[in-house]
Symmetry: none
Subunit: 417 residues, 2 copies
């Protein structure tokens, strides 16, 4: 079973957006045991789109289209496919109702061209759009399966996960099971990690090991194939054990988790609360934590203390500290973490102060970072880092290191019990 993904949109060919949908769908299809041999991107042009369809029909059984289902004139995907397959476009009443409700709910006025989004290929199985207007479709014709998905990732991803997957499984398109597991590591470089497991990488066949580095993290994607899903899983279990015997101290979680999510889960399990005083990171830690549903069980609030005045007046950092050591200092990080913990009455407090760039500060070079962690009843810990990235990278990296130190401290204090 082979698939081809055809993304439709001139904005992709002009470089206005990146084709993240192809990535998402490729991952999902791999999990279903469906091979992807080609991605194609074609513009909003019916002739070129039709030539891409004809080509894909020669080399794939399943053709997935993304984009071009919107209300505007350059959205031509379903019209072109309808003509190609000799199908009618008909109004889908459920989709129309859902579109009308969407406009009511968001207090906006529906225009005539929004009705166009409720047009579907006659005979298609409809995939509801819970996050937008254009419905998706699956249709069997000419010995092929055609799936049409909307372009915006926020609509496409939940639609495929919730309804698209199921439609493919029902059509019994998936045969050998490919299972995949991502192991996430922080605090070790890609080359260093690879050196530790070089013999495993050299010997790989099933499961395979694919290392990938990015954003200061290293991941290993383990992928196993087997007709029996349970056996495929146990192949992954064995390989994971071998890997973690060597580099387990840097391992922090699986698949799509993040350091912040692991921090939140650990705090929830241990029934601990946390606050933050963020200078360098300007709220990045707190917004990351609160982006996770359920954060209110561990987080009550915190301060963004960008100026020295706020550090002094709100967080009671001593004037002497700022005058003698500066805001970017171990002492300041310590006071920020401790005083925030008192002010917000939490079990833990974390502080970030440093020089994000592009300019140096207080004579300290770009990339200098101090992270303070106060734990009620224990000595406060301050870690110093020298990071070498851009402003955005340094802020992001600082938050990740903060989480990494937090997780290690929580692990140690757990083990000490």
């Amino acid at each position: 079973m082979n698939a081809e993904i055809i993304a439709v949109g001139s904005e992709l060919l002009l470089g206005q957006i990146v084709n993240t949908n192809a990535r998402f769908l490729s991952q999902q299809l791999a999990n279903l045991g469906i091979n992807v041999f080609f991605h194609t991107v074609v513009g909003d042009n019916p002739e070129r789109l039709e030539s891409a369809i004809e080509l894909a029909e020669k080399r794939a059984d399943l053709i997935i289209f993304t984009g071009g289902l919107g209300p505007t004139k350059d959205d031509l995907t379903k019209e072109t496919i309808a003509r190609h397959l000799g199908k009618e476009l008909v109004i889908d009443e459920d989709a129309l109702t859902s579109i009308e409700l969407y406009f009511k709910r968001t207090n906006r006025v529906m225009t005539e061209n929004n009705r166009k989004q409720a047009l579907v290929l006659s005979g298609a199985h409809i995939l509801p759009n819970d996050h937008g207007m254009a419905p998706g479709m699956v249709i069997e014709a000419k010995d092929h399966t055609y799936m049409l998905l909307p372009g915006p990732p926020k609509e496409l991803e939940p639609m495929f996960s919730q309804y698209g997957c199921q439609a493919l499984s029902k059509a019994n398109l998936a045969k050998e099971v490919i299972v995949s597991r991502v192991l996430r590591f922080f605090g070790i470089g890609e080359a260093a990690l690879e050196t530790e497991i070089m013999d495993l990488i050299d010997a790989q066949s099933n499961p395979t090991i694919a290392p990938l580095a990015g954003d200061g993290e290293v991941t290993l994607r383990l992928t196993a194939k087997h007709v029996d899903g349970k056996i495929a899983q146990s192949l992954l279990d064995n390989l994971e054990n071998t890997i973690n015997q060597r580099v387990g101290s840097f391992f922090y979680g699986y698949d799509q988790t993040s350091l912040l999510e692991e921090v939140m889960k650990t705090l929830q399990t241990r029934k601990l609360t946390i606050t933050a005083a963020e200078s360098l990171t300007g709220g990045l830690f707190q917004q990351g934590l609160t982006s996770i549903s359920g954060a209110s069980s561990v987080f009550t609030g915190g301060v963004v203390c960008y100026s020295n005045q706020v550090k002094q007046e709100i967080l009671k950092v001593r004037q002497e500290t700022l005058e003698t050591h500066g805001a970017v200092s171990e002492q300041c990080a310590r006071e920020l973490a401790e005083n925030a913990t008192k002010l917000f009455k939490t079990d833990l407090g974390i502080s970030f102060t440093g020089v994000a760039g592009p300019e140096e500060l207080e004579g300290k070079p770009v990339g200098t970072v101090f992270i303070g962690i106060a734990i009620k009843g224990k000595p406060t810990i301050v870690e110093k880092l020298i990071l070498g990235g851009t402003r955005e990278a340094n802020r992001g990296r600082a938050v990740k290191y903060g989480c990494h130190f937090l997780l290690q401290l929580l692990k140690e204090s757990q083990n000490a019990k």
Copy 2:
């Protein structure tokens, strides 16, 4: 002059990485006046790569390959192209020297397979790699131009900008200049905006108009072609004027700017300072603002007030307000904005309170949002929204609406002067 971009790499088809190279090259080629009609992604498989080359030769004059130039066994791009074109692979002495120097500089030991990276197509023009090892190549053959670039964006992007562009200009492939300008709108839906300018879209030829919606914003990409770059720009100016006569009240900026960046620029120009009290958005507004270099000139700090206790104790929201109206209320948003402004001694204060989801709160449905804006010496304004997205989308959308309201208020107060 048409181009096709062929990305080679199974990691793309497995969804392990995103094809950002296609985006980068598309932008660059548009600037050179070269049309891109297709992107193709193919795995590390010589037969399928050759079929992709044959196809591209039918539909493009310039074929750009990315990836597959590395030292490992699955890097097959140049070998496959050499066979396809009937060319030899020969060692390029400059490239070999550069690779040897790279290993010396990074204190690493050069292995035999790294020599493979110095192999180039006989007769090719070499593009030096200043950020890695594999050199790029440009070769003319069979009435086509073939360009080979390395896969890592950190190597590909500077190589193309520094050497690739020039090689194409020399080959005189770039004739017409294509200029492009993105107009950004907020507060109007894609369909509504299109209705307003339908006649312009119907009549488009040069410049063209491409609407794109995403994340609650709508952009129009205007693209003009002309042999004279100045004339191309004036074609864009004229069209922009016509569009903004109709929907200018929703326009907020050009190209890669953001609502937050426009807020910051406006505050800087007006010499105003701002603080924030964020419940719903958990620091998203503040971290966005501080992600922009220079934020300290307009922002001193703020509070993330996630729990009611923090709203009361730190931001002095009255108990009566929370008991009578709840935290998600006009009254609470008003007090948060006003009290934050006092606490942080700023000219403006913005507050966000609401129900991000997935669960309702205080009997108020998911997506209910109140945004308060306090301006010193003026009556505080509170806007209510009902958003219809996921937790993450609602938080992001709330910040954008906050910026939108701020910009409108600042514009009005400017006009009133």
